[in-house]
């Protein structure tokens, strides 16, 4: 396996959450700022030490400038590449390239939104559609993004016999983890039958196969591992990372059962010099119940087609052999439009042994995997408390 000198060259310092669930009237800029200030303070840094910023928005193309202005940061490095929900894991790679190149030292990666307290108006939704036209899909009135993922789920069921029950188990396990997490939004008990019998939206998905729509903001600070050791008692090293995007629209996805996670995962494992069997805890972007099944296969935790059987029988639930989505995921914890920043923060919490009731005993190495668009962009990172 190839490794390179950039393995573990950067580490995550402080993290911050704000406005989880319902932001109570604060704007997205305000909750991002609160999360960012927390992350900076917990990094042992002052705001003036932050010389890099990476963020992106589903709405504003000016977002990194707006956030830097709001926080009073004049960055030496900034980036705002729009990968959709996978962005903040892809940003670990971008931050690493900037830090390794000596362009900047301490990079703030942040995101937040308030779609629960301030739902997008029809005018905003219309504007988003006009700015990202898809004239060859639009006339068919898919209920997007749900329908695009439903098409992938249907194809996976057809090719591999994945069952409705297996999809539901993903949601049930997420809920059980959420019940252990004080920051999680949905904690009501949930059964496989509840998921299957909920209102059908776009076959095979019911409402309970779909992620939440909540408020929430998350922020992290990354720095070189050398600086991180001097600044923080428990830096979390980014051993490897990778991202890939292969399409934008579901009709342009070559094989609906194979995602760009194949490529992002291969890059991350290669850089880390690790294999799936080295991972103690896994955090996968569960926008829909099919997602973790696809990603477990594409990342090499099981063979293609075996993801459904892999998660069965409570294996990914609390107490199961394969701890996954330990914060309750996008399905039951938090999902403000884009989610991957929360995957990183949960993994860091686990690797620092600070996850309380949901702590995975002895977790030393975590894999985080983000997804964006309609299985369009994928980003993977391998994090560890040890270099």
């Amino acid at each position: 396996m190839t490794t390179n000198t950039s393995r573990g060259s950067i580490a995550i310092l402080g993290t911050g959450l704000a406005g989880m669930g319902h932001a109570g009237g604060a704007t997205e800029q305000e909750i991002i700022a609160r999360a960012s200030c927390l992350a900076i303070e917990r990094s042992g840094l002052r705001k003036s030490d932050i010389d890099g910023i990476i963020t992106s928005s589903l709405t504003s193309p000016w977002w990194v400038m707006r956030m830097a202005e709001y926080l009073g940061i004049r960055p030496r490095f900034s980036d705002s590449t729009m990968f959709g929900g996978s962005a903040f894991i892809a940003d670990l790679k971008i931050a690493q390239m900037a830090i390794d190149a000596g362009v900047c030292e301490n990079v703030l990666i942040c995101y937040g939104a308030t779609p629960r307290s301030v739902p997008s108006s029809s005018r905003i939704n219309q504007m988003r559609a006009e700015l990202d036209p898809q004239p060859y899909e639009h006339p068919y009135k898919a209920f997007n993004p749900v329908s695009s993922y439903a098409l992938a789920a249907a194809r996976h069921m057809y090719e591999y016999g994945t069952t409705r029950q297996q999809l539901a188990e993903v949601a049930v396990a997420a809920r059980q983890w959420a019940q252990l997490n004080p920051d999680a939004f949905s904690k009501k008990p949930l059964s496989v039958d509840d998921v299957i019998n909920a209102k059908m939206i776009s076959d095979p998905f019911t409402t309970l196969d779909c992620c939440l729509v909540t408020d929430g903001a998350g922020a992290i600070v990354v720095s070189s591992s050398q600086r991180a050791q001097a600044l923080h008692a428990k830096p979390i090293y980014v051993l490897g990372s990778g991202f890939a995007h292969w399409h934008r629209q579901i009709s342009c996805m070559e094989d609906l059962t194979v995602t760009p996670a194949v490529e992002s995962g291969r890059k991350a494992f290669a850089q880390a010099g690790l294999t799936p069997s080295d991972i103690d805890v896994v955090e996968l972007y569960d926008a829909f119940t099919i997602n973790p099944i696809l990603f477990l296969e594409d990342l090499g935790f099981c063979k293609k087609g075996e993801g459904g059987a892999f998660i069965e029988g409570g294996r990914i639930a609390p107490g199961g052999a394969f701890p996954m989505n330990t914060n309750g995921g996008g399905l039951s914890c938090v999902h403000p439009g884009m989610y991957s920043i929360f995957l990183i923060i949960e993994a860091v919490t686990q690797l620092r042994g600070e996850a309380m009731a949901r702590q995975v005993a002895g977790a030393q190495t975590a894999l985080v995997h983000g997804n964006g668009g309609v299985l369009s962009s994928e980003a993977t990172a391998i994090l560890s408390s040890e270099l």
Partner: protein, 132 residues
């Protein structure tokens, strides 16, 4: 979360105008590359496989198979959204009509048809006899 029914950009690309213009005249035509021979969809000015700009617009056979299907459940009526693989290779999003939505199957043979709708001409598919 959803963008159902929101209008798209008023400015159509040259390829969009070519494609939808033909549909309006009841012709289903898509580009085929004169360099590598492959058909592609959605229509672009350059071949996404080999990069050539030497393209020709042609009518495909209209025959294909359902690659995947979902039924969109709405208060005012359920309908299918499908991905169809044309016999010529390209995949496109469409709808299978003239049969109960529950009976549309992955792998099913379908044939293209152009329907007039309130929003303009729409390429849809209907079940066709299985080909050998």
């Amino acid at each position: 979360m959803s963008n159902i029914g929101t209008p798209q950009a008023a400015t159509a690309s040259a390829c969009d105008q070519r494609y939808f213009g033909a549909l309006a005249e009841r012709r289903f035509e898509i580009p085929r590359c004169l360099s590598c021979g492959r058909w592609h969809f959605y229509p672009r000015l350059c071949c996404p496989y080999c990069g050539s700009q030497d393209l020709q617009w042609l009518a495909p056979s209209g025959r294909g198979r359902v690659y995947s299907v979902t039924i969109v459940r709405r208060a005012d009526g359920d309908y299918t959204v499908v991905l169809v693989d044309l016999d010529e290779g390209p995949r496109l999003m469409s709808r299978v009509v003239d049969m109960p939505v529950e009976q549309v199957r992955i792998g099913q043979a379908v044939r293209a048809r152009i329907d007039a709708t309130a929003e303009g001409p729409l390429l849809v598919f209907t079940a066709s006899e299985e080909q050998a």
